[in-house]
């Protein structure tokens, strides 16, 4: 089999990355820093990683930035997302009382490349009140927009996902 060494190395890297994420989860949920706790956490994350690395990280997913996103931009993105969620919540609250909504289905495409980033974009659009992603097909999004201001797909994409897409491109490229 060709590239057997490279495959074996890639398998090891996948196991290590999975164990890394699992042990972060262990530390956060156990909340204790005794030696026994840390050693047991590392042991069990390695065991679970050896069993499940193939489901976490696909063999073809070999671009580095998709596996190790830049976390500082992730923090900025979470704060920005919370801001957007609260702003649009107040808009939806006004719409509930004044009943002036103009719902519409808009279609647009995203420029994000990796699958994780696209799923994150669709999830963020659904999380923001007033927009729900109905379908994500490769780079094509179908979005139900409660308070639509335009039917032009380019302007709709800018209004719905412009800022989010800019930050997500920095996180996952």
């Amino acid at each position: 089999m060709r590239f057997a060494g490279a495959r074996r190395r890639w398998k090891l890297v996948r196991i290590v990355i999975t164990a890394f994420y699992l042990s972060i989860g262990w530390v956060l949920f156990s909340g204790s820093f005794t030696v026994f706790s840390i050693v047991a956490g590392l042991f069990f994350s390695l065991t679970v990683a050896v069993l499940t690395y193939d489901a976490f990280i696909d063999e073809s997913e070999s671009s580095r930035r998709a596996l190790l996103p830049s976390l500082h931009w992730g923090g900025v993105y979470v704060v920005y997302l919370l801001f957007r969620v609260y702003v649009s919540s107040f808009r939806v609250m006004v719409l509930v009382f004044r009943r002036t909504m103009d719902p519409r289905i808009v279609h647009f495409r995203t420029r994000l490349r990796s699958d994780v980033a696209r799923v994150a974009l669709a999830t963020s659009i659904t999380l923001t009140p007033g927009t729900i992603t109905l379908e994500l097909d490769d780079d094509h999004l179908i979005v139900h927009w409660l308070d639509s201001r335009t039917g032009h797909s380019k302007h709709a994409a800018r209004a719905i996902s412009g800022g989010m897409e800019r930050y997500l491109r920095r996180i996952w490229v």
Binding site: V78, V96, D102, P103, T123, R149
Partner: protein
């Protein structure tokens, strides 16, 4: 003291959004718009309560756990409304539109 005030006001905001979301579910016209109202209710109300609780507890492991719960909630909460909306879209339900002469847009 200030943290207590911020925490309780965030929890009150959460209650307010929960009530408004439920009113929206009752008065909106079709499945998509009702879904929007219920999604607002679910995300913003729950997020506000979680952030408010993070302000109310003392700084420590519990704060970290609340932040982790909030992050997992950010990932998992939109899935249900997306699945319901996708089902309605696959069933070819036509979304409710405002009458043509009442639309306020400029195309």
């Amino acid at each position: 003291m200030i943290a207590t005030i911020i925490g309780w006001s965030l929890i009150c905001v959460g209650i307010l959004f929960g009530v408004v979301g439920n009113v929206g579910v009752l008065i909106f016209p079709d499945v998509y718009t009702r879904l929007q109202a219920s999604a607002t209710c679910a995300t913003t109300a729950t997020l506000s309560v979680i952030i408010g609780c993070a302000f109310l507890v003392e700084l420590g492991p519990m704060t970290g756990k609340l932040i982790v719960i909030g992050l997992f909630f950010l990932v998992s909460s939109p899935v249900s409304s997306h699945i319901i909306g996708r089902y309605a879209w696959k069933r070819e339900m036509v979304p409710w539109r405002r009458a043509w002469d009442e639309r306020g847009d400029v195309e």
